[in-house]
């Protein structure tokens, strides 16, 4: 016998909770939904674009009536619930419909706050909250000319913009002298006002309405200062208020909203509540991301999984007015204890302000160029310490040479044909269409449906901006902590800490400890866990070949046609004539289709069949060469220049040092690929300052640099330390490599890792703490004692032979 679940409120939060519940426990409940409006569930955020003629009602429907039928849900639309009888556990609607419940979900949302002005009940005075309001506005716009919007906040400006698009002459009345005062500071608000005025919008700032004039219909407004304005329509957009009358009347504890715990439970254990009607830890929310997070948590508890908690959300805002780029988040005003960084260029229409408290970002306002909004917002949520890059913070994340996008950061003004994702050839228009047609809300959704930013990821910021522009502020689910993958609720850091603290030594032990949702994981968590276990338990954990990406399983790089490429190691980029001959002989013998010199000073042989791999490895082994790990999340190469042996500028033996560094680090598995270089002088021919670990030799010793990257985002290294001897270089290299191995998330390069944890913390652990440096280096050497065993030789000797052999059958 199924239990009964009743949902009061057929809006975005409540229905999202049902969707999440159906994913977890589709058969647990008989579900009944009451909705006041005569529609299915629609995307309320999109009412502004509907009013602005940019979308139709059909386009903003999230769940049509067929969805309710398909999922066996009873929908009572157009019925208002008037009573919750908690003793009998039933709800009663205005038409007498009565439904019993075992669990009740209250998602009654919010209503427009209507100013209690004389005349507020006249015809032509409305709020801006639902489809009926939009219909009224469009109807009046077709017959009348003048409109007034009371409220210069986000909603008011969007309503005013829409009414202008409907052909009306619109005046925005605002109580204060600054628009969007909850989101913008003075300069940004002034810039916004200027550009809205340029589009034809009129403003009456610092005006308090006294009375709405007219007989039955509104004809004008009188202000407290005696001014008067004639109008045919008044839209009140001064705010929303949580709609909790019903809950309060039924005796549920309410303050400014229905009070819920971190599990979204009200004071009645059988009643949950989500959405704009709830008050959680003293806060009410009016944006979509927190509501969706709440929905997920409520669904988890309704499904009786009992593990999710809602811990509040930091919110950000993006104005959806065509042509205007605006971003705001957190505390953007600040106080005596905060500092602010400001960049203003009136001529180019660009303004940025960042508020810091103890070097942690707590607020940001961006106008004009908002591309870095998502980056600032992420740092706010992560509590990133920005001390190390304060001086460049305002210039955003786009490091020099960020491939492809350059100055193209103003999403709103980009044409639909602008290519956003260079890897997959996806244009702005394609992304907009997918967001609209497929009702997408999150970055992951957009990636899944369009592939935009799903490959190299360099356009992620642009895609996030398009998403934010289209669906409004704080579009993504923005969980405060990011789970490792879809199989778990736990983050990389929590799982790594758990592996060490509980001495978990198998993948199954980790999955059991952390309540994995899947029996054998997914490609994301299996590869991560395999690495974490290998790093934590060297010599004890048995590597799982089936949890390795094919390149690491086959120790060669798979190519688009399914063939493989092979790159033997050349320590420090040095080789002998005999080795070259052996490579050439192997290329002939195995019919290699192309020989390429790599950027890391190695030789690559392309076009080999998988079955040939153990044979060619045996030949290369015989000539003294081992695996180059060009396929692995591992030390790739140590690039060198010729140094003091040959170069007239060389200050130290960079080649010899490079060979020693490669002998130290080869074979080590890392969170991601890892590149080293050693240059013999500051001319830096080995490009050491864009490597994960780089050495630049100088006359008096060795400069050590870390966290560089020459790929998607060019990032120049940070200077770590200067040392005097080669021994010290090797010790610092081992220590830094080990700290990265133990601390970074799987698939996180050193560049983002250094930015995430801060260079200061790395210096503290390695440069300033000699004892710790030695311990880290020792641990690195211990791990290396198990991993410097040439995998090519192992396979040439017959290990996992089946991996490389196919089975031939005759089918005729």
């Amino acid at each position: 016998m199924k239990a009964n679940l009743v949902l009061i409120g057929n809006g975005m939060a409540g229905v999202r909770a049902l969707e999440e519940l159906l994913k977890l426990e589709p058969e647990k409940y008989n579900i009944t939904v009451f909705g006041e409006e005569p529609y299915g569930n629609y995307n309320r955020i999109m009412l502004s674009p509907v009013l602005a003629n940019e979308k139709t009602i059909e386009q903003i429907m999230l769940n049509d009536e067929q969805w309710y039928i398909d999922n066996g849900i009873t929908l009572h639309k157009g019925k208002k619930v008037t009573e919750i009888n908690r003793i009998k556990r039933e709800v009663v609607a205005d038409d007498g419909t009565t439904e019993p419940y075992d669990k009740l979900l209250v998602a009654t949302g919010s209503t427009s706050f209507m100013l209690p002005l004389p005349g507020a009940d006249k015809e032509g005075v409305i709020g801006f909250r639902d489809i009926a309001d939009v219909d009224t506005m469009i109807d009046i716009a077709s017959k009348h000319k003048k409109a007034v919007v009371i409220g210069g906040g986000l909603l008011g400006l969007e309503a005013a913009n829409g009414l202008m698009k409907q052909g009306m002459d619109v005046t925005v009345v605002h109580l204060l002298d600054r628009l969007m005062e909850r989101q913008l500071d003075g300069p940004a608000a002034a810039m916004l006002k200027t550009s809205l005025e340029a589009s034809g919008m009129k403003f009456l700032m610092s005006h308090a309405t006294d009375e709405i004039n007219g007989d039955d219909r509104v004809t004008g407004l009188t202000f407290k200062n005696g001014d008067y304005i004639a109008t045919d329509l008044v839209v009140m957009a001064v705010g929303i208020k949580p709609n909790f009358n019903l809950a309060q009347e039924s005796g549920l504890h309410c303050e400014r909203g229905i009070v819920v715990s971190d599990t979204m439970q009200t004071f009645d254990p059988n009643i949950y509540s989500v959405g704009e009607c709830v008050q959680h830890r003293g806060t009410t929310y009016g944006l979509v991301a927190p509501l969706f997070e709440q929905a997920k948590v409520a669904a988890n508890h309704l499904a009786e999984f009992g593990i999710a908690r809602y811990e509040g959300t930091v919110t950000s805002t993006m104005l959806k007015v065509t042509g205007i780029d605006l971003f705001s988040a957190g505390d953007f005003i600040g106080d005596d204890t905060t500092e602010e960084l400001v960049f203003q260029d009136v001529a180019s229409g660009s303004y940025k302000k960042i508020v810091l408290k103890d070097n942690i970002l707590i607020g940001a306002v961006l106008y004009g160029d908002t591309i870095d909004g998502t980056w600032y917002f992420q740092m706010m949520k992560d509590g990133t310490n920005v001390a190390d890059f304060r001086s460049t913070l305002l210039f955003g994340q786009a490091h020099l040479g960020d491939s492809g996008h350059g100055e193209e950061t103003r999403i709103a003004n980009m044409p639909l044909t602008a290519e956003i994702c260079g890897c997959n050839g996806i244009c702005k228009g394609d992304i907009l269409d997918a967001i609209n047609d497929k009702k997408l809300f999150t970055l992951d959704d957009v990636r899944a449906h369009t592939k935009a930013s799903a490959s190299c990821g360099s356009c992620t910021g642009l895609v996030e901006s398009i998403l934010a522009h289209t669906v409004g502020g704080d579009y993504s689910e923005a969980p405060s902590k990011k789970p490792l993958c879809g199989c778990t609720e736990h983050s990389h850091d929590e799982i790594r800490a758990g592996i060490d603290a509980n001495a978990l030594k198998t993948m199954q032990a980790v999955r059991d400890q952390f309540n994995w949702k899947t029996p054998d994981g997914c490609p994301a968590c299996r590869t991560s866990l395999n690495y974490y276990l290998l790093c934590s338990w060297p010599g004890e954990y048995k590597d799982d070949a089936q949890s390795r990406f094919i390149n690491e399983r086959a120790h060669a790089n798979i190519q688009k046609d399914g063939s493989f490429s092979v790159i033997p190691r050349m320590f420090g980029g040095i080789c002998t004539a005999d080795e070259l001959r052996a490579i050439a002989d192997a290329a002939d013998k195995y019919d290699v289709r192309q020989i390429t010199l790599t950027g890391g000073q190695r030789i690559a042989l392309f076009g080999l069949d998988k079955a040939q791999l153990p044979e060619i490895w045996e030949d290369l082994n015989t000539a003294g060469m081992v695996s180059g790990h060009a396929y692995g999340k591992a030390l790739r190469t140590v690039k060198t220049c010729v140094g003091s042996d040959w170069c007239r500028f060389g200050t130290q033996d960079s080649t010899g040092l490079g060979i020693k560094l490669e002998e130290l680090t080869w074979g080590s598995w890392m969170p991601h690929k890892y590149k080293i270089a050693a240059s013999g002088c500051p001319r830096n021919c080995a490009e050491a300052t864009i490597k994960d670990f780089g050495v630049v030799c100088v006359d008096s010793g060795y400069e050590l640099h870390v966290g560089g990257n020459g790929g998607i985002k060019v990032r120049v290294t940070d200077f770590l330390a200067k040392v005097k001897t080669e021994e010290e270089v090797l010790e610092y290299c081992g220590a830094f490599s080990q700290m990265y191995r133990e601390d970074a998330h799987y698939l996180e390069r050193t560049a983002p890792w250094v930015e995430r944890v801060g260079l200061s913390s790395i210096k503290a652990a390695i440069v300033e703490d000699e004892a710790n440096r030695k311990v880290l280096h020792e641990r690195f050497l211990h791990g290396q004692s198990f991993s410097q065993d040439d995998p090519w030789k192992q396979h040439a000797d017959g290990k996992d032979a089946n991996e490389f052999k196919s089975i031939k059958i005759t089918t005729a």
Partner: protein
């Protein structure tokens, strides 16, 4: 010609791994799940013909090594937002030997 073709002992296929079976004209990836269930699927992703045999298997799904499409091993359908389908073939295990129904 019998309908079922002997492929290999079950133990020759790693758990959550695969073997490639080559016919005269195309290749088939034969996977083994954690419960020793066996799936056979044409070794070509519906997206860009990636060799599914080289992907990572999880549950009854394989993720293509080229562009991470996820393919349901039971029916060959692409999962998630991707659309496409590849052929699957019948298998059986008898006395710890894997058989494939003649794909011709």
């Amino acid at each position: 010609m019998s309908k079922w073709i002997e492929i290999a002992p079950l133990s020759d296929i790693p758990v959550l791994g695969s073997r490639v079976v080559k016919t005269d004209s195309f290749s088939i990836a034969v996977f083994r799940g954690t419960d020793d269930s066996v799936f056979a699927i044409k070794d070509a992703c519906p997206h860009k013909d990636g060799p599914l045999s080289q992907g990572i298997m999880h549950g009854t799904t394989v993720t293509c090594p080229l562009h991470n499409w996820k393919i349901n091993l039971a029916n060959g359908e692409a999962l998630g937002a991707d659309e496409g389908c590849t052929n699957v073939f019948e298998t059986k295990v008898e006395n710890a030997i894997v058989y494939l129904k003649n794909p011709q």
